[in-house]
């Protein structure tokens, strides 16, 4: 199958998942009404009399921004997971390897604990602080790696990220142990959730994520070459240090933003690239965009399951991604392997 066709098919599937996600819920919105509601909201056309106003508001105010938020966050995590697995030449590397989530959690924990609020950040104080702490941790890890190892070897980067993550996590554990009244709030934040995500969140997150992914798309060839090893990449003409730094920085930005807004949701970033490589081959010009689409669709689906399966109770979406994802991953992985043997 032609690559273009594969990507188009994936995009169509994603659209299908998004439609499902906005239709299903406590109030069922018929798929046929979506176009009418969107036309009315976006272009001010009169709403078809057949469509109830409540449906229109539920779809526009609640479901659509939530679904889009899940889609963009899933895409961001999957894209950065793909890049990290290439840059660090490690199939277990993920967006969180360098300590973004640990840092962001500490930031979020401090905000909850102190109740601090910055006037310029307003309702975004928690995401803002989480973002700064998340990114700060990654750059600290990179900075310490650079001091220890001038060549910035992958093993050193990964080790430093792990050590720093554990250290930052320990600080967070200490703090929460000393102030238990915030424990529950923090735990729920860490589990991740897309509830109460509105257009204002989408408006902040979506453009940033789109720009980052587009930037990454320009470096797919470098990602390909880097999988053959650092020396090979250098001798093929890649400005390795700069490219590596740029790619890791963009990934940190993507993951930092995602975690700051919705908490730590694992698994998507790790498995999306593996699944996509099984189905589409390993070239990053294909794997990166398709991983982003797949991760987005997968996250939207996971969020749909998390809010509907035990409604009105919501399950933590981070648990759902792993609950659906692990068997699915095993299926795709071993099915292909059997055929190869």
């Amino acid at each position: 199958m032609k690559t273009g066709l594969k990507i188009t098919l994936t995009a169509v599937l994603c659209l299908g998942v998004l439609v499902l996600a906005v239709c299903i819920g406590s109030v069922a919105v018929p798929p046929g009404d979506i176009a009418g509601i969107l036309a009315s909201k976006l272009f001010g056309l009169p709403l078809n009399a057949r469509i109830s106003n409540i449906n229109a508001e539920v779809l526009w105010q609640i479901r659509l921004p939530r679904a889009l938020m899940a889609f963009f966050v899933g895409g961001a995590l999957a894209a950065s997971g793909t890049v990290m697995q290439s840059v660090l030449r490690n199939p277990l590397a993920s967006s969180y390897t360098l300590g973004v989530s640990a840092g962001a959690s500490l930031g979020a924990g401090l905000v909850m604990l102190t109740g601090i609020s910055f006037s310029f950040a307003g309702m975004f104080t928690l995401p803002f602080v989480g973002f700064v702490f998340g990114l700060g941790t990654v750059f600290l890890a990179m900075g310490m790696t650079a001091r220890l190892d001038r060549n910035m070897e992958n093993q050193t980067i990964i080790l430093m990220g792990m050590v720093l993550s554990l250290f930052v996590n320990a600080i967070l554990t200490l703090i929460t142990a000393l102030s238990r009244e915030h424990l529950q709030q923090l735990i729920f934040w860490q589990m991740g959730s897309f509830s109460s995500k509105y257009w204002v969140h989408v408006a902040v997150v979506a453009p940033l994520l789109l720009i980052c992914v587009i930037l990454l798309m320009r470096y797919t060839r470098e990602m390909d070459i880097m999988t053959f090893g650092e020396e090979q990449a250098l001798s093929a003409g890649v400005e390795l240090k700069n490219v590596k730094f740029l790619l890791i920085a963009v990934c940190a930005l993507l993951t930092g933003t995602a975690v700051a807004f919705v908490g730590t949701i694992g698994f998507v970033d790790l498995i999306a690239p593996h699944v996509v490589r099984r189905l589409f081959g390993v070239r990053h010009s294909v794997v990166l965009p398709v991983s982003a689409l797949f991760g987005g669709a997968f996250m939207t689906l996971a969020d749909l399951v998390s809010r509907t399966i035990l409604a009105p109770q919501e399950l933590p979406v981070g648990a759902v991604t792993a609950l659906i994802g692990a068997p699915f991953f095993a299926y795709v992985y071993f099915k292909r392997r059997k055929r190869a043997v």
Binding site: R218, R221, D224, F228, S235, A236, G237, G281, S285
Partner: protein, 268 residues
Amino acid sequence: MLNVSHVRAGYGSDEILHDVSLQLPMGQSLSIIGPNGCGKTTLLRAIAALIPFEGEITLGGKSVASMKRREIAARIAVMSQMASVYLPYTVYDTVMLGRYQHMKRTFFGRPSENDRRVADLCIEKTGLADIRDRRIDELSGGQLQRVFLAHTLAQEPQIILLDEPTNHLDMKHQVELISYLRDWASDAEHAVIGVFHDINLAMNLTENVLFLKDGNVVGQGLFEDVATPEFLHGLFDMDVVGYMEQSYGRWKTLKEGRKNGQTLQEQI
């Protein structure tokens, strides 16, 4: 002309190469030979500017250290060892990655007409046409080595650097690779520099040799002029030529059969 003058290099505070100089005109090839740990690989890395070094290395009069990676890649290619397959690219994609430094930055990394032409040609020349769409993790060692050769050729360099290129190859593939490289290097604008343990292979590929010991050049020139039995004995601390003669004698008995029913070992 490649000119290496008074180069010192090492890792961290360990200096491995002390004051190495060599000159290599285009159209010639050079083998680098020496005991383990003498700095052969370090010298190759310095020439490709993969590691920092003191002293000066120029190619066509221009300092390698001042070039951008892409400029270096347009002139010098390092043929990779096969140990480094992480993701299963196809043969064609792997060869095409050799075109990296010639390509413009585009969105989906689409190669140009010329890139495709060169990659096709390199695949053709290395006899990979039948397996161009296979995954590289499914290939035999010999096939994989040819894929990396094609990748290196696709880079269209002036100089190819090789580090123990025949390590994982059986004899047929060793001979094939060496004779291919000898052909390539006979072009007046090309040169090959190879690090070898196997002196036989080195003599099959190049006329010239540079002997290293403990990070210093101890001999340089034509094999016939430099590699005397006494010199090799001193370099490797063993009677290299005697050893070779002995195995050659054994080969002869394989060809002629037993003499008076005795093997060579028994005759000695």
